[in-house]
Symmetry: C2
Amino acid sequence: MEKSFVKGLAVLEALARAGRPRGVTDLARELGMTKSNAHRLLQALVATGFARHDAEAGQYSAAPKLWELGMRVLAQVEVRDKAAAQLRQLARRSGEWVNLAIRDGIHVLFIERLEDGETVRGGYVGVRAPAHALATGKMLLAHAPAAVQQEAARRPQAFTARTIVDGAALLAELRRVRARGHASNRGEWREMVNSIAAPIWDGGAEPVAAVGITGPHQRMTLARQRELLALLLDSAAAISRRMGGGALGVAPVARG
Amino acid sequence: MEKSFVKGLAVLEALARAGRPRGVTDLARELGMTKSNAHRLLQALVATGFARHDAEAGQYSAAPKLWELGMRVLAQVEVRDKAAAQLRQLARRSGEWVNLAIRDGIHVLFIERLEDGETVRGGYVGVRAPAHALATGKMLLAHAPAAVQQEAARRPQAFTARTIVDGAALLAELRRVRARGHASNRGEWREMVNSIAAPIWDGGAEPVAAVGITGPHQRMTLARQRELLALLLDSAAAISRRMGGGALGVAPVARG
DNA sequence: TCGCAGCGTATCACATTGTGGAACATCGTT
DNA sequence: AACGATGTTCCACAATGTGATACGCTGCGA
């Protein structure tokens, strides 16, 4: 089914992920295709402006066009703009890192991150992380379609000793999160990082994003998590209101 | 040559550019392909995570994965990070809009924009614009390979009465810009917007980016452009230094 | 200096693969 | 109830993508 297209997309993705120019043979090896195949696909990518060709080194790299198109997609995620002011306020008041994440399958994508009330530039935004090990991730997963939850519960990967690795336990946690309207994470992703998260609604059946407050475990004690919760829920509700969603911390409509 | 792949990329691009969910028939019509063809390509895009399928409305839209990959590409453009501090300073000192642009063919892509010393979020960053009508664009074009200049000089499109629409005149302007080491734009893109631009070098034969100062024509008079030039050239040189390039406002090596 | 090993690129006969017309299923509208 | 528009599926055909092979080039070590 659409073999060449799928292969071509794989090349594009590998090129973008690499973050540096790559050679034909190199790519062909990684993707398990022949040199000729990789070569032809790369030519097509160059012809369409998705990749660039350094004639001297003979190497290929992803072109800015990919980034341009990506920005168009981000523009669709209107929550980013609508949340900006609230997030800044939240970051100042809490004094912790604040992030905004959306779900893509069983992963989470960070679409905004603030430190000391300032937007973080490099490194963090655009990063993909497994949903089951994050507060924002669990929050979003809790309202995801059953099929997605099942997929996430199939052998959840461990990142620390505290990561939920049991499928049934994860589903139970998701039920709890859904019932409470907020999620918490204590060292499940990075050993010494804790966080809490709340959903943002736009009136649909699923939250469009989740806001999280994250901090090192020395500061982010259980007590402090509880203390910050009200602030977080307020912010999330305020953003939800701007998004045209209910201000409640729970889904506006019941789910099967 | 790689027909299906090229078609598939066209679908992906159309999807991303649209910024809203689109239907099969709709896309097929725009791209001049059959419904079945568009449908199959869309299925492949969904299968690979590049697109999403709204089962209820039967419509397709670009997935966040595209944005994620785009961010990876942007990370390659290290100039963005290295320039950040200088740009903020420049924005504060000048009190005008400051932007950072890179060249992609005969177009310019804005990779950063500051207003009042604050990074602008929506709308501007990631936008593509024709190089020949912008100060940053002319600056970058001035050091582009001859083939690119020729392409840009073939029927330059008019945007205002002041846009350079004569190919020969454009090439002459590019020579001037190259000789001077900076570019200026007075109402060639938007009627009442003027700007100046300077190149950023990383040691290569072409500038990696250009910094621009932009403002409404009431404020941005000829005199003020001259006044801001020193500030601009200083900033550009400082960024170039951080990028490992010469601090000069002209190319480090002569070009044929 | 030579030869080798690695690279990116070009070629070509083969059959796998993508193709588009037509038919079907589902809507909402007339 | 009939229509027009949509998204979806099917299938015979051949155009299209395929990979082994060969070529030219560069850099490295003998």
